[in-house]
């Protein structure tokens, strides 16, 4: 038999001013199942809460309805009060008499009648409430960081320094990402590698971090606190434990003409190589596609010169299984190549470069030792044209968004060029100048005022080669749209920043959402920038959207803090407003018919399949099962279920129907 207590709050004059609270309390006392009904000035105050607590104990209440303000305001308050008196907090409901009644209606009989109705609705619901208990999910305190660029490095260090274990997986042979390729960073013109390499070393040496380079994520299963990841360690062809990183193999390798990925195809590397001299780990890798031994069966020079006998030609890919509690996706970006632009020559002109290629030219450790030289003939260019927004903000090219970093790095490139070639002329064709960060505007001003970079507001429609020069055809919109033609020695295109080519495949492996540009989707664009809709997976860096280094670092620390928060308890406690599939004894076991419509509809992939077997192992039926660690309690599955076998705790069909019956 239900014993419901009803507590009507006056909320000072807020409710009592329009609603006859005494009348409501009196009417409520007559509702079937109500054994206690009072009204009071301030239910949320200490004396008010005590009234509830005492009533629970004295009248042995089985349910409580507090008719007051919005549950979004005080539901936790009153549920806590109930819990303190020994009544399960989920047996307490609130009727919203303030925001939904007294504040929006005139004083009168209709308003009091509505208030009474609202109380009656909640009384009927509460009579069908069941006690619910928080769900505990164990947490494995190891984090998986995918990507060894600056974002991944920052996240890994933050989590590791907080005392938790981290496994970092990086696809290339060395960590460092694109930041390692940069010459200097805006707005300070800090040497990029100088600020990056100490962090790279810290990651490699950190006792809490296990680093897998030349490795990729093979699969990811499980849920928050309990993921199982499989990593594919690709075969380096080197025994990392014996290799000393002396580099003798690299010196002797006869295949020296492979375009270097690190140098953006401007320089060459050998078949056995480290991507760059400061690589971490400083252990080489054999590029089996281009290695003479792997192609023709002849050579093995590296083995002969290796003092540590570290070569292992028969090494195979290795699969490593890991249990982790959280994942941070920091897989970064790539930039469009020059062949993306038919109007600029389909990538056929060697002296038209991408911004990243220009970084390598400007870099002291680059293919030209920091001297700006034309790739075609090695001459120093006297006129360089920089084209901003190459591909970005261009629906015709399929890239609608702004790549964010190009205005700044183009200014930087023009400045570096002017610093290195004093007599050189630099032109930047731009649409807008986006320099919103700290000290960014001042940086661009410097380029214009101190380094005399010529900014021309207009786009470049065509670039073609004539007599060894690149003819750049553009327009100056600030000078009445006058056509501008510049004979340049070199053109640098600030090409669009796009997602990695396998970003979609990786997102599908992790079962996380991504947008039409294949950037990973954050849980909420404003208020949850480092979480994803899949619980336990966090995101940092340019894989989420174009951004610069300070933002990537900030986001990485944000993601790390979420992971550290998650790991701060041994068990994860969750609200029990989750879906539950009906189960009963034999012969039915469940009314679920196994159509799994719920499984496909669940936005969180929280529905699994459960095989119900007889004692002899024979399969009786496969039914749906809700993973209570992942379910967020939206109830979509409940509405979809054909056999009404799944229900949402806290908002069951019974409860909602009961609310309707009161009409």
């Amino acid at each position: 038999m239900p014993r419901i207590g009803v507590f009507i709050c006056h909320c000072g004059e807020n409710i009592a001013g329009t609603v006859d609270t005494a009348a409501v309390a009196k009417n409520a006392a007559d509702f079937p199942g109500v054994v206690h009904s009072i009204d009071y000035k301030y239910m949320c105050s200490d004396p008010g809460q005590n009234l509830i607590k005492e009533a629970i104990k004295e009248k042995k209440l089985t349910g409580v309805v507090v008719a007051a303000c919005s549950p979004r305001m005080h539901e936790p308050t009153f549920r806590r009060a109930c819990a303190e008196s020994g009544l399960n907090p989920f047996l307490c409901e609130m009727a919203n008499l303030r925001e939904h009644c007294s504040w929006v209606h005139e004083k009168g009989e209709a308003t009091t009648e509505k208030a009474t109705d609202l109380v009656r609705i909640m009384v009927e619901k509460v009579k069908r409430n069941r006690p619910l208990y928080p769900i505990s999910v164990p947490v494995t305190k190891t984090a998986l960081v995918l990507g060894g660029g600056i974002a991944g490095i920052q996240a890994a260090l933050d989590i590791a320094n907080a005392g938790h274990k981290v496994v970092m997986v990086e696809r290339e042979a060395s960590i460092g990402g694109h930041m390692a390729q940069l010459s200097e960073t805006f707005p300070t013109l800090d040497c990029s590698q100088c600020i990056l390499t100490p962090r790279m070393v810290e990651v490699a040496q950190h006792p809490n971090i296990t680093l897998y380079t030349y490795s990729e994520l093979e699969s990811l299963e499980g849920f928050i606190g309990n993921f199982k990841a499989v990593i594919r360690k690709k075969a380096r062809s080197i025994d990392e434990t014996t290799c000393t990183g002396c580099g003798a193999c690299i010196q002797k390798c006869p295949t020296k003409k492979i375009p270097s990925e690190f140098n953006a195809q401007l320089g060459m590397r050998t078949a056995i190589y480290v991507p760059f001299p400061q690589a971490v780990p400083n252990k080489p890798v054999i590029d089996r596609k281009n290695c003479t031994f792997f192609k023709n069966g002849r050579c093995k020079l590296c083995e002969r010169v290796c003092p540590a006998k570290a070569l292992r030609y028969d090494q195979e890919d290795m699969l490593v299984e890991l249990n982790v509690g959280a994942v941070v996706a920091a897989t970064g970006y790539q930039v469009k190549d020059t062949d993306f632009f038919p109007e600029y020559g389909y990538g056929a002109h060697k002296d038209i470069l991408t911004g990243l290629q220009f970084e390598r030219l400007a870099s002291a450790s680059g293919p030209t030792q920091g001297v700006i030289k034309r790739p075609s003939d090695g001459q120093i260019p006297e006129t360089v044209v920089f084209v901003a927004c190459a591909g970005s903000r261009d629906p015709a090219k399929g890239i609608n968004y702004c790549s964010k970093i190009c205005c700044m790095y183009t200014a930087k490139h023009a400045m570096l060029y002017r610093h290195k070639v004093h007599s050189g002329k630099a032109y930047i064709f731009y649409m807008d100048i986006r320099a919103g960060g700290k000290m960014y505007e001042e940086f661009v001003r410097r380029a214009i005022e101190e380094d005399h970079v010529n900014y021309v507001r207009g786009r470049v429609s065509r670039i073609y080669k004539k007599n060894g020069k690149l003819i750049v055809k553009g327009v100056d919109t600030l000078l009445n749209s006058r056509p501008v033609e510049i004979e340049a020695d070199m053109v640098v295109l600030a090409t669009a920043m796009v997602a990695q080519p396998d970003a979609e495949a990786l997102a599908q492996k992790m079962k996380v959402s991504y947008d039409e540009n294949k950037f990973l989707s954050e849980a909420h664009p404003k208020l949850r920038p480092v979480e994803m809709n899949t619980a336990g997976i966090f995101v940092a860096g340019a894989c989420q959207a174009p951004k610069d280094i300070p933002e990537a670092v900030a986001q990485a620390s944000g993601a790390a803090s979420k992971v550290i928060g998650l790991f701060s308890k041994d068990e994860l406690s969750r609200e029990p407003v989750v879906a539950v599939v009906s189960r009963m004894g034999p012969p039915d076991f469940s009314t679920c018919i196994g159509c799994f419509l719920c499984e496909s509809a669940c936005p969180y992939q929280a529905i699994e399949r459960e095989e119900i077997k007889a004692r002899d192992g024979r399969l009786i039926k496969t039914v749906a099962k809700v993973n209570q660690g992942v379910c967020q309690g939206c109830g979509t599955c409940v509405a979809l279920c054909r056999s009404k076998s799944i229900d949402l705790q806290g908002f069951t069909n019974e409860q909602v129907f009961a609310e309707l019956v009161t009409l």
Partner: protein, 300 residues
């Protein structure tokens, strides 16, 4: 093979050598040109700048007449006519209500089932049908293939694949023994209809085209459109004046270049009708090394 033929106004007038050369090479290459009876003007630029329905009705009537004559394909040599007919066909195919409306205006049923082809489409078909074997006198010259605007734009109607650096005409010329040069003004504007109203602009724009072709060592410019020909050939005096430099590089229709390669006489191809005299230096056949391959690794 039999293919419908819509000469359009210019092939009957200022571009009659284009017509003559097409008529001359057709039997040699194995196709029969069947002219659409009672054809009308396609409307060109004038119609579509004035009235959308008129701009559709004029080409629609041509398509309707072609259908009535049982023609499944229609060769439209002039690029402007081609784009008007192709665009009209596209609109009629996708909009049933419009099709009925236009049908009632022209008082003829039209379905759009006749395919509209430009001269490069037809020549490409011939290329795969033994064109090379029919070459008697290889056109051993350096040529600059000029595509103009309508063969590469708009993208959905164009048969050329690389809008900024098309190769279809270049490929055909290569087959007949020519050496197409890689040049920068393949698809740049010649000034088009401004030929009459703003000849100065045409002199400037077409002048740049002619100059680049000549500077790159081309011995002839090859075109596939009467408008292109007019601006690059007929307006040569204005170009010379604008640039203060004489350019003698002749402009040939693609059908004329092929005709010469097939061994036909210059007279039968109408070469005498050009404003700039067609004088091509005699050269031995080019060496067998392949011509420039644009889709390979970065060059220059």
């Amino acid at each position: 093979m039999k293919v419908g033929f819509f000469p359009g106004c210019s092939l009957e007038g200022s571009a009659r050598e284009y017509n003559e050369s097409l008529q001359a090479i057709a039997p040699v290459l194995g196709f029969e040109l069947s002219e659409v009876p009672d054809w009308n003007c396609c409307g060109a630029t004038a119609a579509h700048t004035l009235n959308h329905k008129l701009a559709l009705a004029l080409p629609a009537r041509i398509l309707a007449l072609a259908e009535k004559a049982g023609l499944t394909e229609l060769l439209v040599p002039c690029s402007a006519c081609y784009t008007r007919l192709a665009a009209t066909r596209d609109e009629l195919i996708h909009d049933e209500a419009l099709r009925r409306d236009i049908s009632s205006i022209i008082e003829l049923p039209v379905t759009g089932r006749t395919k509209v082809l430009n001269v490069l489409d037809v020549l490409a078909a011939c290329a795969s049908d033994g064109l090379k074997d029919k070459v008697r006198k290889p056109f051993a010259h350096k040529v600059a293939c000029y595509y103009g605007c309508y063969l590469t734009r708009p993208e959905k109607l164009a048969s050329c694949k690389r809008a900024e650096d098309p190769q279809e005409m270049d490929d055909i010329l290569r087959l007949v023994g020519a050496e197409p040069v890689d040049w920068a003004f393949k698809v740049e504007c010649c000034g088009a209809g401004l030929s009459v109203s703003r000849t100065g602009s045409v002199a400037e724009l077409s002048g740049r085209i002619v100059a680049d072709a000549a500077d790159r060592g081309a011995e002839a410019i090859i075109v596939a459109c009467p408008m292109c020909h007019t601006n690059l050939d007929l307006r040569r005096d204005a170009i010379t004046e604008k640039r203060q430099t004489p350019y003698s590089i002749p402009v040939l229709y693609v059908s004329q270049a092929i005709g010469l390669a097939l061994g036909l006489s210059p007279r039968s191809l109408g070469l005498h009708r050009h404003h700039v005299p067609v004088r091509l230096p005699e050269r031995p056949a080019p060496s067998p090394e392949p011509a420039l391959q644009p889709s390979g690794p970065k060059e220059d």
